[in-house]
Symmetry: C2
Subunit: 196 residues, 2 copies
């Protein structure tokens, strides 16, 4: 778009054009710049929309992996995740995060394909931000609480149980990073929308 603008401005300043059309009026210049900025804004909004969808999809995949790995971490003989409250907490948060990010992905894909909104734009941005931020805090909290006990177990023995726990923790941390980025994008959307 900026190339097109540049060409227009160049064309306007040749002497023939000045004779033909008279001096450039501020209104015409203003309109061109206006159209350019609106198009740039649309492009940026589209990029932000797709970026936040991609971040949520990543968070969904990571929390689903964390949920599956931790839920299947039952090997008998004291090697069961249910014996440790940290692992139960991690599993619970991974399930909640999977449900939240899954629903959000569904909603945003539906919105992109049909163009219809379930709720109005401002409420939607508020739900996005609050949901992302709180889920990110929960994911970080559950991963942090499960790290020390896993670390202590791995000092003693390194087996399939501790390895699976470590894998589930890593997946929760990756989901946290995706959702933390997504929360920043959502808050940006929220705070720019309220001033339009």
């Amino acid at each position: 778009m900026s190339n097109f603008q540049g060409l227009e401005l160049e064309k306007r300043h040749t002497p023939e054009n000045d004779m033909e059309r008279g001096p450039p009026t501020t209104e015409a210049g203003g309109t061109e710049v206006g159209v350019g900025s609106v198009l740039r804004r649309w492009k940026r909004d589209d990029f932000i929309r797709k970026g936040s969808l991609a971040l949520r999809a990543l968070a969904f995949v990571f929390s689903l992996l964390s949920f599956i790995i931790m839920a299947s971490n039952n090997h008998g003989g004291g090697k069961e995740f249910g014996d440790y409250e940290e692992y139960r907490y991690l599993l619970a948060i991974a399930i909640l995060s999977s449900i939240y990010t899954g629903l959000q992905c569904f909603r945003h894909v539906h919105q992109l394909s049909s163009g219809k909104q379930f709720v109005d734009l401002k409420t939607s941005a508020l739900i996005d931000f609050v949901g992302d931020q709180i889920t990110a805090y929960f994911l970080l909290s559950s991963a942090s609480s499960a790290i020390p006990i896993t670390n202590r177990m791995r000092e003693g023995a390194d087996n399939i149980f501790t390895d699976s726990s470590a894998a589930a923790i890593s997946m929760s941390l990756l989901a946290f990073i995706s959702l933390a980025c997504s929360a920043v994008v959502s808050f940006h959307k929220l705070s720019t929308q309220s001033f339009i």
Copy 2:
């Protein structure tokens, strides 16, 4: 300010005034509304500035308390915080958070009293947001990691060591809540400033 505006508008629409000054021009109306919105904006900005300073001061007090309580949690005979990596982590983050929030409070008080800026407004808003958010994540992570071991100890015995640990964890959590709110305010400042 809106009361004053209302009076002005009422005054303008009496017949005597209309005869005296002619019909109201849009320029005059526009200027009045403009001044009103600028003053409202200043008031809101001032409120936000003081609010974020208060939140950081709260976070400073809570993290300093957490630091002091955990650092003095040495009672001999296995009841020393240095024996547990979770408590060492909590102490380290409480110290970092105290330094960060202390410096931020000093900077903002200096700015409010002298009106001078160390860095330009946008960089300052960016530093505020990134610092607040990362410190909040660290505080949550350290508190979450220290909760399970304290919980397990308190199931066995409830003594001065576990009570002090629980107090330090609570203070870290309160500091986290203050800084999380402060991060939202900082991001609001950042994203509204970039569009002025």
